[in-house]
């Protein structure tokens, strides 16, 4: 049994790409495979012309793939700023000498790191919460923090697993604006897995619909809304209704 079968998917640079489908369709599995937390048993993953199928998740982050996890993963016992500083890890490699002696170049690198972290916090609107513990933030702000941590690695591609889940209408609107701004201001390509159809339709340029691990439709949001196979996957067929 496979979670995802024969999926051929191309995401263009600068696109906001939606991946939708009913529960268990294999959407998060696809993100896990692209992000490197799962390895596909067959097939290839190519990122900017380079095969990354066998790379581990930290290597993919080095290549420029950022990730916002579905389960609201954060460094919860760290402050908001510390979360960002972990996110900036790739920009400041640790040397043995720096543990015992802080040279001026190390200090200036640390200052640049701090500035980058604060800039990212400002971008997502969390500047005022920089010394707050991540665990104490409300859900919506935690999702924004997760986005900020992913942005701290300066990604080219951002994988967003249910970014607006559990948010109220106002927070959803803010997150949607934020994701659009990522593309417009930073040129980041986004792949979004989401159940909130209103958010997906307002956000994505192109959508792939999965059901039981297979692609059942692909196209613009308008085309997807009208697609018969998609409606059946979400609502069932007339036969399903009669048999129930």
């Amino acid at each position: 049994m496979a979670a995802v079968i024969d999926l051929d998917m191309v995401v263009d640079q600068g696109q906001i790409f939606g991946l939708i489908g009913p529960n268990g369709a294999g959407k998060s599995t696809v993100l896990n495979m692209v992000g490197g937390t799962l390895r596909p048993s067959q097939g290839k993953i190519i990122f900017r012309g380079k095969e990354i199928t066998k790379l581990s998740s930290h290597k993919r982050a080095e290549q420029g793939i950022g990730r916002v996890f579905q389960e609201n993963l954060l460094f919860t016992s760290f402050t908001v700023l510390q979360n960002l500083l972990v996110g900036c890890h790739l920009q400041s490699p640790i040397s043995l000498a720096s543990i015992f002696r802080k040279t001026s170049s190390y200090r200036s690198r640390e200052e640049a790191l701090m500035k980058n972290a604060l800039d990212t916090l400002k971008f997502v609107g969390l500047s005022d919460y920089f010394c707050e513990m991540a665990i104490n933030l409300p859900h919506g702000r935690q999702r924004l923090l997760a986005l900020a941590v992913a942005l701290a690695i300066q990604p080219q591609l951002l994988l967003l697993d249910e970014p607006v889940t559990g948010m109220n209408a106002e927070e959803v609107a803010l997150m949607v604006t934020m994701i659009k701004a990522l593309r417009e201001k930073k040129g980041i390509t986004c792949v979004v897995v989401e159940h909130n159809m209103k958010a997906v339709m307002g956000l994505c340029d192109r959508i792939v619909v999965l059901n039981f691990g297979k692609r059942i439709a692909e196209g613009s949001p308008q085309a997807i809304v009208e697609n018969k196979a998609v409606i059946e996957a979400y609502l069932g067929t007339d036969e399903d209704v009669t048999s129930n």
Partner: protein
């Protein structure tokens, strides 16, 4: 507030070092000096064991690496005639290198699987020492290898560390330097990354942290200091045995873990407090030795239930209690009803 707490912490550390320096002179007993030497060595063992906890893992094999350091240092002095100044770091390095080699397969697993691997490794090292008769003396162990002897110290010249008091001060110096290094590492960005891995390794990997590499570095650093502890122990007793009941048995690791938990695993000073308190309890309950595991166990249960953050949290709790009582008092003073009564 932060300055005040860091000043209190510095004063606490200074006081601990002064007490450690003064105790052997005040007690002037060879027996107590040897007890204190052992306690200080176990402090290093417990603190280095806690280092592994910084990446979220518990090791039950720490004594195995202590055993590597002890036998390496003892054999190098016995068979090659090398001085302790050389065998001590070599013992630590070999323990650290062994951990580095084993770290890559071991750190791929987590939780109970890591615990099982470490305990099996530790037992394998002990069995190896027990059965490699030609090298380690087998059941008879290694006896009569030299102690620290005379060492040349820069700026001071030759100092003889052969006596129990001198060896105690040598051990204290090495342990203090080791603790300083471990503390420095923990407070550096390396320690910060270790903590991030403990929080969530999945997220750490997603931001570009090579989780396996940092975990292996952590394991190697911790085991290096376990090796140093082993070497110090070997030359303190000048006899080594790999028998079950000796220093390298599973019970020693369990005690180290208990010291860490009772003292407080979230704080650097936790294992130090735990080791000193419980080692002294063990010492004072020596007349009822057969009940010692029960006594230590009862203390551990009581601490875990009453103070889950360990004994090292007590000063902070007292400070908080005093702060709250001051606030309550100032509220009462400002209350108009109370003032009316007056």
């Amino acid at each position: 507030m932060q300055n005040k707490s860091s000043l209190a912490s510095s004063v606490g550390w200074a006081l601990a070092v002064v007490l450690a320096i003064v105790f052997p002179l005040a007690l002037s007993s060879i027996y107590w000096t040897s007890v204190l030497t052992k306690i200080i060595i176990y402090v290093l063992m417990a603190v280095s064991l806690r280092t592994i906890y910084l990446v979220g893992e518990f090791s039950l094999g720490h004594v195995g690496f202590m055993c590597v350091g002890a036998y390496t240092s003892a054999l190098l002095t016995l068979k090659a005639g090398l001085p302790l100044a050389l065998t001590l770091p070599v013992g630590g390095l070999l323990a650290g290198f062994t951990a580095f080699s084993l770290g890559y397969p071991f750190m791929r697993v987590k939780g109970i699987y890591f615990v099982i691997l470490t305990v099996l490794t530790s037992e394998s090292f002990r069995q190896l020492a027990l059965n490699w008769k030609s090298l380690t003396g087998g059941i008879d162990g290694l006896i009569g290898f030299p102690g620290a002897g005379a060492l040349s110290l820069p700026g001071i010249g030759q100092v003889d560390f052969g006596g129990p008091n001198e060896y105690y001060y040598l051990t204290l110096s090495v342990v203090c330097v080791s603790l300083y290094l471990l503390h420095r590492i923990e407070k550096s960005r390396l320690g910060f990354i270790w903590l991030a891995i403990r929080e969530t390794d999945k997220m750490a990997g997603a931001v570009g942290i090579n989780v396996l590499r940092y975990k292996v570095i952590n394991f190697s650093v911790a085991c290096f200091f376990a090796g140093i502890g082993g070497a110090l122990l070997a030359h303190s007793e000048q006899a080594l045995s790999a028998m079950e009941g000796a220093s390298f048995g599973i019970m020693t690791t369990i005690y180290l873990l208990v010291y860490m938990v009772v003292g407080g695993r979230m704080r650097f000073e936790g294992p130090i407090v735990g080791t000193v308190v419980l080692s002294l309890v063990s010492e004072f309950t020596r007349p009822v030795e057969e009940y010692q595991p029960m006594i230590i166990g009862a203390i551990a249960i009581a601490v875990v239930m009453i103070l889950p953050d360990g004994l090292s949290i007590i000063p902070e709790k007292i400070g908080l209690w005093r702060f709250k009582s001051l606030i309550a008092k100032s509220k009462t003073d400002l209350d108009p009803k109370t003032q009316e009564g007056l």
